[in-house]
Structures are given as structure tokens and as C-alpha cells.
Symmetry: C2
Subunit: 225 residues, 2 copies
């Protein structure tokens, strides 16, 4: 009786779930080209043909994994955005508020997933640095709309700023965010041990401040001249 309960709680997840998790881990480590069906199968303790059976192809497998990982983050972003707007109806959000809603959800997910071996930071970042064609298409589908949302929000905060300049600095902000995520793994090496990769909160706090101020001062300088 007891053993069955233990067995039930410790029962390993479905093959499908294990494949997705292994894919996330290996993709974040080695990128799309560095991920092989055999390495996924091995890590998921599944048969080589399992991934093809469940997802059809390597492309579809990776796309499904990315969908499952990224969708919750984007949903949370919009949630935070709307939440802030409801608290001050009619008043445009501050730059800090806007970038908080953009960056904070990533920190949340990273903290959640530290128990698993997959670094979400690396995964999200790799989505943008991978050159594979199909990932570019997927990127377009996943992020095109949300980037427009943020541009609109920032335009509301700076109603007299030319849209082009908003775009320039939003682009820089997103690039900085992704760069920080991608580089986070190297933090300890880069700082000769002065900073700790595990302090995700510290990183997120500083990143939000860094980007917000970079954005504010940049807009001020380049839209007035």
C-alpha cells in the first residue's frame, strides 16, 4: 500500500514530458544544431524513435518545447502590465513599471526552474541568438505582437517622442535584456568570482534599473536634438 503511494509520487513523468525536459536542457546548453535526437533520447531515458513518434520531427520537438516554456512568461508580462494600469487608470506607466513587467517574469521562471538542471535564462537567450531559420519564424510568431504592445506602452509614456526613437531604444533595451540573460552563465568567470551566478534577484533588480535608466536618458538625449 505505502509502496504504491511512494511509487505513485515518485513515478517518472510520461515519455513525452521527459523528452520535452531533456530537449529544453540540451537546447539551452548546446543550441539547436548541438542538440541531437540521440542525446535527447539518452537523457530522457527513452528510445531513439520516441521523439519522432511523439512530435514528428526534431523541428517540431524543439518548437513545442519553446512554446511550452515561453508562453507562460509572455502571459505573465501582460498580466503585470494590465495590473499596473488598473492601479492608475488613465495615467501612463513609468518606464520602470514597463520594464519591470517585461523583465521580472523571467526572473520568476528562472527561480522556479533552478531545481531542474535547465537554465531558463540560457534557453530564452538562445532563442534569439540561434540562426536557424525555423527559429526565426517562430520568434516572429511569439514576439512580434508583444514587442508592439511594449512600443505602444512606451509611446503613451512619451507621447511627444518620435516613434522611431522609441523603437531604437526599445530595441536596445530588449537586446540588453537578452544579452544579460545569455551572458549570465559567464558571470562568475567574467567577474573573477566577485559576483555569484545564483543571485538571480540581484541580477534582475540591476537589469531593470540599468535598462530603464539607459532608456530614459537615451530618449531624452536623442529625441530633443
Amino acid at each position: 500500500m505505502i509502496s504504491t503511494i511512494i511509487k505513485a509520487t515518485k513515478a517518472k513523468p510520461s515519455t513525452r514530458k521527459r523528452l520535452i525536459e531533456a530537449t529544453a536542457h540540451l537546447f539551452s546548453l548546446h543550441g539547436y544544431n548541438g542538440l541531437t535526437m540521440r542525446s535527447v533520447a539518452k537523457e530522457a531515458k527513452a528510445n531513439l524513435a520516441a521523439a519522432s513518434y511523439h512530435f514528428g520531427s526534431k523541428d517540431a520537438l524543439v518548437l513545442e518545447m519553446l512554446h511550452e516554456r515561453i508562453q507562460p512568461i509572455n502571459a505573465r508580462r501582460l498580466e503585470l502590465l494590465n495590473q499596473a494600469k488598473l492601479q492608475q487608470p488613465g495615467i501612463p506607466l513609468s518606464v520602470h513599471q514597463i520594464f519591470h513587467s517585461l523583465i521580472f517574469p523571467i526572473g520568476e521562471e528562472i527561480s522556479k526552474s533552478t531545481k531542474s538542471r535547465c537554465s531558463l535564462a540560457q534557453l530564452v537567450a538562445r532563442t534569439f541568438t540561434e540562426p536557424t531559420d525555423f527559429i526565426e519564424r517562430m520568434h516572429q510568431r511569439f514576439f512580434a505582437q508583444i514587442s508592439q504592445t511594449y512600443h505602444a506602452e512606451l509611446s503613451a509614456t512619451y507621447p511627444h517622442c518620435p516613434p522611431e526613437e522609441i523603437y531604437w531604444h526599445l530595441h536596445l533595451s530588449v537586446a540588453a535584456m537578452l544579452g544579460a540573460l545569455a551572458q549570465h552563465r559567464r558571470l562568475e568567470d567574467f567577474t573573477q568570482g566577485h559576483c555569484n551566478e545564483g543571485e538571480v534577484e540581484k541580477m534582475i533588480d540591476r537589469l531593470i534599473e540599468f535598462i530603464s535608466e539607459g532608456f530614459i536618458r537615451g530618449i531624452k538625449k536623442f529625441s530633443s536634438s
Copy 2:
């Protein structure tokens, strides 16, 4: 007579040079794993065995290419740094001056190389996002020293700021720079055509301002509390 002169001026470069150039182009497009000896040979209009003959292995070929491309940038950085220090001996450099010396040389090289199909921005950025082991080692060799130089310079500007906080924000700055370079290719898509990828100068100017201000305000906020 004339034909020989034309032939001489238009003579295609040595096989070795063509291989390096093709490697740079394909590496920046597809990364290390996505680059194949056959694709390099084809683009360089050389035989498949040529790369192995001239460089020994794929690893050595890519390393040599990176060395040739990155070394001049780092040299120029130190040159600008020393130049600025000579103009105001004894006085610490401003944050803008420091980051100008870090970022501007990349802009120079990008402008130079726009005639070739290789985007230097992508190449430099990929150096940092590629997970391949040997590239990590190479990165350590190429950038470990220069990152220390910049930390020292910034510490001189902020003598009372704890080194840890300098590291944090230098890390964010470098990450932002690399992120911007890596994302530069997507600029037009991201901004729905509002911004032009070709305007490298604009990007560099805004990047220097963005990072400098992010650094300054971040240091102010997080080292005083």
C-alpha cells in the same frame, strides 16, 4: 598589357585568405556547429581538403579566423583608452570616455566590412553565445585581460565604489553591447521597418549613451544603499 594589369588587380586572393573570409561569413551566419568544411570550401571556391591542409582542422581554422578578426578591435580599444588618458593625465576618465573606447572600435570595423558579406557584429556576438568548449577557452584567452583593464579604469573613476558593484554593472554593460550586436540583424524586423540596419553609426551612438547612463545610474543607486 592592359588585360594583365586588370587581371592582376582583380586577381582573387590566396586560397588561405578566401578560406578565412568564407569561415568568417558562415560562422557569423550559422555558428560553429552550423559551419561545415564543405560549405566553407564551396563558398571559398576551394577544394574540400584545402582547409585541412592550410589549418589542420576545423577548430584551428575557426580559431585563426577569430584571432584575425578580433585582435585589431582589442588593439584599437587600448589605443583609444591610452589616447584619452594622455589628454588628461592624472584625471580619471569619464564613463562615456571608457565605454566609447570599448564600443566605438566595433563600429569602425563594421563600417569597414560592410562591403564584404560578413557582418562583424554577428561574428563578435556569436563568439560569446556559442557554447562550444574550445570557443569558451578561446574567449577566456582573448577577453579575460581586457575585461580586467576596463574594471580597473572604471574603478579609478569610482574609487569609493565597491569592486563587486563595478563588476555587476560592467557585466551588464558588456552583455548589453553584445546583445545589441547580436540583435542588430533583426533591427528592421523588430522595429517594423522604422529603423534601418545600415545606420551603424546611429546604433553605436545610442549604444554608448545607453550603456554609459545605465552604468552611471545603476552604480549610483546600488552602491549608495
